[in-house]
């Protein structure tokens, strides 16, 4: 396929179509509406299902029903809309169905704004809905990666009968870059031994998430966890940049990771031994890979577009051996490479302390910039 100049939202929608998405249910919300619009045009002309739901609540429950047939189905939304989908996600996990969700994150909390942010990390990675479940969470940092991860999301959702989320942010959704779309896959209705398609010549099938008998519900929880353990063992993905001799390790995902890479390159040119680890899956999280880096690194710098939601996971991985510093921007502000470069220079120069909350000193520094 030739490279084309593609907008992120449109590229993810078309990638989903080419990955064999059979049905899309969604609701308009900025900055992801182009996914819905593209689907509204393309799905019917391909003889597939598109439906604009009355709310995100309805959309995710339509996805839930459609997934019960075994079809490859998806929805997309942005932060406040994804909040409304949390109930449905919990039920889908409780029923162990394959579903893909694209979340194009925006500033929050509340109505917030429509500018890029990464503040859905906790609700997508660490829960959101009730009960013990884990989403597979893929975080693109370019339009090309958004395409590739959308295709991967369908394959992983199907392989593990679970929810795979492409967690992009508004800038990935809205920006245009040259990228290559995958070839169109033939659409085949997946055949499962659990799908409720009508009991033609077979025993009836029931898909449910209610188990009133606690030992049965515990068994489901164990099954979900065992599935997640398999995912953790097989599906951790990340990108490493200049880490071979890095004394400072920057950790950032998505757009924050991309901006950090520019800063890391400039710092390298200045002779600072710095590298970048960019998690591609933030769930499962590259905990072991980060732990391995504590043997050689003298400091970590986590950079995000939130108040340090992934920071907690990095700290857990690093332990108390090496200082972990933080730099974030919030509310829809994307940090400039210069801001992260200044942080890298500071970490390279200043004596750092263990066992302090990096958010305190970061807020002091941030307020100096803002005032």
């Amino acid at each position: 396929m030739p490279r084309e100049l593609l907008e992120g939202n449109l590229a993810m929608a078309e990638a989903a179509i080419r990955a064999g998405c059979q049905a899309y249910f969604g609701y308009p919300i900025t900055p992801q509406t182009e996914v819905l619009e593209w689907m509204s045009k393309r799905m019917p002309e391909l003889g597939r299902v598109f439906l604009q739901a009355e709310s995100e609540v309805a959309a995710i429950n339509m996805v839930y029903g459609a997934a019960c047939t075994g079809a490859r189905v998806m929805s997309s939304s942005s932060s406040p809309g994804v909040s409304l989908m949390m109930e449905g996600l919990s039920y889908i996990h409780g029923t162990q169905l394959p579903v893909v969700l694209i979340d194009v994150m925006r500033g929050g909390p509340g109505l917030g704004n429509i500018a890029p942010a990464q503040s859905d990390y906790n609700q997508i990675v660490h829960g959101g809905g009730h009960g013990d479940y884990h989403n597979i969470v893929l975080t693109p940092s370019s339009v090309q990666e958004a395409i590739d991860l959308t295709v991967l999301a369908f394959d992983l959702a199907q392989k593990y009968c679970t929810v795979a989320v492409v967690m992009a942010d508004g800038s990935i959704g809205q920006m245009m870059e040259p990228a290559e779309l995958p070839p169109m896959r033939p659409v085949e209705f997946p055949q499962y031994d659990w799908a409720t398609t009508g009991a033609v010549g077979r025993e009836r099938r029931i898909l449910t998430s209610i188990y009133l008998n606690p030992p049965e519900e515990e068994a489901i929880n164990i099954k979900l966890l065992e599935n997640w353990n398999r995912i953790e063992q097989n599906e951790i993905r990340y990108r490493e940049y200049y880490l071979d001799d890095a004394e400072i390790v920057v950790v950032g995902f998505g757009t924050a990771g991309r901006v950090a890479l520019s800063a890391v390159r400039t710092a390298r040119a200045e002779g600072i031994p710095v590298g970048l680890l960019r998690p591609v899956t933030v769930n499962p999280f590259p905990t072991q890979q980060i732990r391995e880096l504590t043997k050689t690194a003298k400091a970590f710098l986590v950079t995000e577009m939130n108040t340090g939601q992934m920071l907690d996971d990095v700290q857990r991985a690093v332990g108390r051996q090496v200082p972990v510093e933080f730099y974030g921007r919030m509310g829809g502000i994307v940090p400039f490479p210069d801001e992260i470069l200044a942080e890298i220079r500071r970490v390279a120069k200043e004596p750092l302390q263990l066992d302090t909350n990096p958010r305190y000193s970061w807020l002091e520094r941030l307020n100096l910039i803002r005032n």
Binding site: V57, A58, Y64
Partner: protein, 258 residues
């Protein structure tokens, strides 16, 4: 003298039923409603091609009683879930079975929009004027003055508003093909209810849009009366508030005899 009487089966379990013993309270009309649905599915030969959607409420375990493919929805979301199934499998029969808390309270948006879209599904709506499963709280369908555990002095319309008439509301939707209300309080009305359920499934079979049968039902346990008095209470108190009527019938259904 031999008096061989030929065996005539007058009553048996519908094929669309499983052998699961009922767990509904004595005198509850859920069992009657389940049976009518199963009989209609049998008569139309739809057992293998029907997918049911169960709600949250007393009938959360409806799927234990039906020998069909079944899914279990989140509270109020059965019409959305049914939409997802029907859109992927348009040649299958899809129905939801919902109570009044599920359909008329938490699921109001989903039911109205399913009807508005003319979603080609069938809805069996059990209106017993109370929340049964959680132990008898006020429902959107609770009658003015009716005592429940959350309206202990009777529903005060100044505070809690008025009962919601779903059949009337849904009949305003252009996408609806068949909207009626029936009652399960005596044999005559049960027979009429079965005919209506048959018509609702016929509506779906012919692709005539959204169909719903509202069934006035009893809840002796939470109403605090005997099963017999509960049926009388439907007739005396519910029917005047919820008139039994055809609220919308697609003209294309006019010639159909069931």
């Amino acid at each position: 003298m031999d008096t061989a009487v030929p065996v005539q089966v007058v009553y048996q379990r519908p094929e669309s039923f499983t052998d699961t013993p009922t767990k509904y309270c004595p005198g509850c009309t859920h069992g009657v409603a389940h049976r009518l649905v199963a009989e209609v599915i049998d008569e139309m030969g739809l057992r293998e091609t029907t997918i049911g959607v169960a709600p949250v409420g007393c009938s959360v375990y409806a799927y234990n009683y039906f020998d069909l493919d079944f899914v279990e929805a989140a509270h109020g979301r059965a019409p959305a879930m049914a939409t997802g199934i029907k859109r992927l499998l348009p040649n299958r029969t899809v129905f939801t079975y919902q109570g009044d808390g599920d359909l008329a309270s938490i699921g109001m948006a989903e039911i109205m929009h399913a009807a508005g879209r003319g979603e080609n599904i069938t809805v069996i709506f059990i209106n017993n004027a109370i929340y049964g499963m959680t132990g008898g709280q006020m429902a959107p369908t609770t009658l003015p003055g009716q005592k429940t555990t959350s309206s202990p002095n009777g529903r005060d319309v100044e505070i809690a508003g008025f009962p919601i008439r779903m059949a009337e509301a849904l009949s305003t939707m252009e996408g609806a093909g068949y909207i009626v209300r029936r009652s399960l309080h005596d044999p005559k009305n049960i027979r009429l209810a079965k005919k209506a359920i048959r018509m609702a499934f016929e509506t779906q079979k012919r692709g005539l849009g959204f169909s719903m049968v509202e069934l006035l039902s009893s809840c002796p346990t939470n109403w605090g009366v005997t099963p017999k008095d509960a049926l009388k209470w439907i007739e005396d108190h519910m029917v005047p508030v919820y008139p039994l009527n055809d609220f919308k019938i697609s003209p294309e259904l006019a010639g159909i005899k069931v």
